[in-house]
């Protein structure tokens, strides 16, 4: 059943392309703003690059999260989903997984201008970098999808999502930036593995909590 839900989420996005296009455009705007703000004679952004990258991801993900439950609340389709014979925790899992896929697709496009405009050297061992980005995306979308569902039926839900999300995500922001910095500087994984451990712990804890508690926030 979960595969059907993920397919539904991705098909909806593929047809409308609302989240994807707005997120990709917004990430470009952020990159250009970074270039205008932090440009220096040396033109080297390597010191700040991990921080800038994750700020871009965080702000871009908020745009996607604001649209995450938009269809359901606008057309009251959520009541229909709830009446389907499906575990409500699986609805959360589908939102989480599809959100992570869309965010990764946006990043795949945004990383090109990020490297090009900010003149960033591509570090060796790309596999480590892909792993960090995967964990960071998964952690952000895990809590983000849950909070998006939590705020869905509130007034000003668009405002509430970032206000709730950013402080709760502070360990993810720190851990993602720290591990990316370790990777960019070419440090051995043993030096920054603690941060990877924090990201994995966050995903496990909030994944389980989200799956368990989602039924309570969707009660009619």
């Amino acid at each position: 059943m979960i595969m059907v839900l993920i397919k539904k989420e991705l098909l909806t996005e593929l047809r409308a392309k609302e989240s994807f296009v707005t997120m990709a455009a917004f990430s470009m705007v952020i990159i250009v703003s970074f270039a205008f703000t932090f440009i220096s004679p040396s033109g080297r952004f390597m010191e700040m690059a991990p921080g800038m990258f994750w700020i871009m991801v965080l702000f871009t993900s908020v745009l996607g999260l604001q649209r995450s439950f938009a269809y359901e609340s606008e057309f009251d389709a959520f009541s229909a989903i709830l009446s389907a014979p499906v575990d409500r925790g699986e609805i959360f899992l589908a939102k989480w997984i599809s959100g992570s896929i869309v965010l990764t697709m946006v990043e795949t496009i945004a990383i090109v201008p990020f490297i090009l405009f900010l003149r960033i050297e591509i570090p060796a061992n790309l596999l480590e970098g892909i792993g960090i980005i995967f964990l960071g995306n998964t952690a952000i979308m895990c809590l983000g999808s849950f909070l998006s569902g939590l705020a869905m039926r509130s007034r000003l839900s668009n405002v509430l999502v970032p206000i709730l999300l950013f402080p709760l995500l502070s360990p993810v922001i720190i851990a993602s930036v720290k591990s990316t910095t370790g990777w960019v500087r070419g440090l051995p994984i043993g030096v920054w593995e603690t941060w990877v451990f924090i990201l994995v712990s966050f995903i496990v804890i909030f994944g389980l909590l989200g799956y368990t508690l989602f039924a309570h926030i969707t009660e009619e």
Binding site: L156, P167, P171, I174, F206
Partner: protein, 218 residues
């Protein structure tokens, strides 16, 4: 007289808390030793740390009452959770005010991203969101449910925040971390007394706020 305090037991606790707090303040001013280099600035420690203890205890109660509300669906647990969140945030605000007052003469700067203060600030921001969430909900039943869930999520996040903030940036947190166990008895005993006074004050405030929320029909 306020109906809450027309109850003799509540009145007894009000008088006890008042007396204990007066004794606590006198004790802090006259009986605690002056710490070299810190002098009077260190006295705020007897208010700062008990406030932090009370704030974190309060958020623990928010989580417990959130779990109980989701299981039992009894409005009593929602009232306790809301009251604990309000009072906890009040005490954390006190921590965020007294922390920089203590830090300025000791470390030369009011804010240096000290791990415990940073964790407190993050929690304070989470609970600002908690209150906004409650106030932006049109249906009280739904607001109670989302608040209960948020209380659980926020408390589950605390150990991860503490851990990540502690190792976040050692180069800007290079001040000595004092452990309570290593404090001399002249400091430790008044500190324990102060923490007891704050805890009793907290439970009286919690009882009072729950009573008021019940009268308001929440």
């Amino acid at each position: 007289m306020n109906p809450f305090f027309s109850n003799r037991i509540n009145l007894f606790w009000l008088a006890t808390v008042f007396l204990l707090m007066v004794v606590n303040v006198i004790n802090i001013i006259y009986n605690t030793p002056m710490v070299p280099d810190q002098e009077w600035a260190q006295k705020i420690f007897y208010v700062h740390v008990p406030s932090a203890w009370t704030g974190f205890l309060s958020y623990f109660i928010v989580m417990i009452s959130g779990i109980l509300f989701l299981i039992k669906k009894d409005q009593k647990w929602d009232r306790i959770g809301l009251a604990a969140a309000e009072i906890g945030t009040l005490f954390l605000a006190l921590v965020l005010i007294t922390g920089p007052i203590w830090a300025k003469p000791i470390w030369g700067r009011a804010w240096i991203w000290e791990p415990r203060l940073t964790t407190t600030l993050v929690l304070f921001l989470i609970y600002i969101g908690y209150f906004m969430m409650r106030s932006f909900s049109d249906y009280p039943e739904r607001a109670a449910r989302t608040a209960a869930v948020l209380g659980i999520i926020a408390f589950a996040d605390i150990p991860i925040i503490v851990f990540s903030v502690k190792f976040w940036s050692p180069e800007i947190q290079s001040h000595p971390q004092v452990e309570m166990a290593s404090q001399p008895p002249g400091i430790l005993l008044p500190f324990i007394f102060s923490i007891t006074c704050f805890s009793i004050l907290y439970f009286l405030m919690l009882r009072y706020r729950v009573h008021v929320l019940k009268l308001q029909g929440r």
